[in-house]
């Protein structure tokens, strides 16, 4: 290859990516940096935003128990949602994987399809199903004799976790499904031929092998649930605030942008730390699977 061609070859990838790179620096990195800066600005009811450097907003978040409670609620809801999707989604992915061709692709479409359907529509469905004390879910549970008094679902964390788990479920099924595709079915047969029962096979053979899939699904579900907006806003109502709905309130109702920016920055930093940290842990623990 001539020297000129080689030089052109070295420049080509940069020429091709330059427009996208400029777009991302200009319209993604700069706005994000501006948001972090905004969280250090001052704000007053009458004076508006003042571009000074103070720690007022961060101090308020750190000391006011209202924010501690709100972040703790956000975290709790995200953890419970993640557990629920893992406990139900992993067995479902396993069952799906054992189905025969046509049924498998049909049910995969049914379960993964909702991923692309508007979150507002899906959450509206839960609001209709929960609907007060005589909603469909309560009627069904009571007629089945499972409960004697209606459970309040609307405007409660229980309802938020159920609706969020439904919204996030496809991510978990997808992730476990991907792990199952790497699994060699002969190992299962080998274990059976050596006299292992179904429980032993699931506990000793299947579980360890799909665990990386469950964990990477859990990371996706956790980070999306912790920053979810539509479902907590519709099911939780105006009183049960989570990080995303609180930031929305500060920006569009109270108009205290610097405080809202601080909440958003904290959410972003916490999520990045949790996701990067647990990714590193999983990759170290299951290094052989990711090779």
């Amino acid at each position: 290859m001539s020297a000129a061609a080689e030089e052109r070859n070295a420049r080509a990838p940069w020429a091709l990516t330059a427009p996208a790179l400029m777009l991302f620096v200009g319209v993604l990195l700069i706005p994000l940096a501006m948001t972090v800066m905004l969280s250090f600005h001052d704000w007053g009811q009458y004076k508006g935003i003042e571009p000074v450097f103070i720690l007022k907003n961060w101090h308020e978040i750190a000391t006011d128990p209202y924010y501690a409670e709100m972040f703790w609620r956000t975290f709790r809801i995200a953890v419970l949602t993640t557990l629920l999707t893992a406990v139900l989604g992993a067995p479902e992915a396993y069952i799906l994987n054992r189905m025969s061709g046509r049924w498998k692709s049909f049910f995969l479409l049914v379960i993964l399809g909702p991923l692309l359907i508007s979150v507002v529509a899906r959450t509206l469905g839960w609001a209709l199903l929960f609907g007060g004390n005589n909603g469909l879910v309560n009627k069904l549970l009571m007629s089945a004799g499972l409960i004697r008094f209606p459970i309040p679902f609307m405007f409660t964390e229980t309802g938020m976790v159920i609706a969020l788990a439904h919204v996030m479920m496809p991510f978990m099924v997808l992730s476990v499904w991907a792990a199952l595709q790497r699994l060699n079915p002969q190992i299962e047969n080998a274990a059976m031929s050596l006299g292992a029962g179904p429980v032993t096979i699931i506990r000793r053979i299947i579980m360890p092998q799909i665990m990386p899939g469950v964990l990477s699904g859990a990371i996706i579900v956790f980070s999306l649930s912790a920053s979810a907006f539509a479902t907590p806003a519709i099911i939780g109502g105006r009183r049960l605030k989570v990080a995303a709905t609180l930031a929305y309130d500060e920006f569009l109702n109270t108009l205290n942008w610097p405080l809202g920016a601080a909440v958003a920055t904290l959410l972003l930093v916490a999520l990045v730390l949790i996701v990067v940290g647990s990714n590193a842990l999983i990759e170290r623990r299951y290094a052989e699977v990711f090779r």
């Binding site: 070295a10 080509a12 940069w14 091709l16 990516t17 427009p19 996208a20 777009l23 991302f24 319209v27 993604l28 700069i30 994000l32 501006m34 948001t35 905004l38 139900l88 479902e92 069952i95 799906l96 692709s105 995969l108 049914v110 993964l112 692309l116 359907i117 508007s118 979150v119 507002v120 529509a121 899906r122 509206l124 469905g125 209709l128 199903l129 609706a163 439904h166 479920m169 991510f171 997808l174 079915p185 299962e188 980070s223 912790a226 920053s227 907006f229 539509a230 806003a233 990080a243 995303a244 929305y248 920006f251 569009l252 809202g260 920016a261 958003a264 920055t265 959410l267 999520l271 990045v272």
Partner: protein
Amino acid sequence: MSRNGPLALIFHTIFVIVMVAPILVVCLVAFTPEGFLSLPTNGFSLRWFRAIANYPEFVHAFWVSLGLGALSSFVALLFAVPAALAIARYRFRGRDALAALFLSPLMIPHVVLGIAFLRFFTSAGLGGSFAALIIAHVIIVFPFALRLTLAAATGMDLSVEMAAVSLGAGGWTLFRRVTLPLILPGVISGWALAFIQSFDDLTMTVFLAAPGTETLPVRMFLYIQDNIDPLVTSVSACVIAITMTALILLDRFYGLDRVLAGKGDTGR
């Protein structure tokens, strides 16, 4: 391979019912003949679908969403196709970092993006404008456009291009007559997936939309905040029908498992 036992099938049945129930109930309630929320127990009626026409905000929001989705997905591809070709074909320093940057909108919570864009566009004097919505949506749909284009570009047979070059094709002709047609299925699927993502986004858009530039999810969300009535279920039913159509087309054209698998990975 062993079959599923009866217990597994019962679990599976309940699981599927619960997954489908909320979507189904929205579509059913939309057909109620009553003036209040109820399942259509005595006959189906289209009155709430006709009622949409009397609520111009929803109709307007629908056109905003449609235009926004189509346009932002197209603009995203203008940036994503060359970037995908570079990432697929060249090994250069900073390649992995660039790929990570281009996929980063998948990792950043949309509420944070919404706030960042609101701050940015307000400072730039573009607050609440359609142009601001387009630019913001280009960023959030970019990863989807990039990933599917990247998959197509990686799987492409380079010898076809070399043949074209040896026959004297160069630059633009090479791209337009050889490369683009070969990666076109990936590009179109990328556009469709990007469109769906843009069409459905609420969390980021709710920060940017002003009266007049409200998208359909934003209008629906604000409506639900005030009250839930059959009108919003009929609008939702329409949205579900549109998405399902796009989904089935995407499945036929490209394979839904391929589109969805690897959501969030680095595209290789």
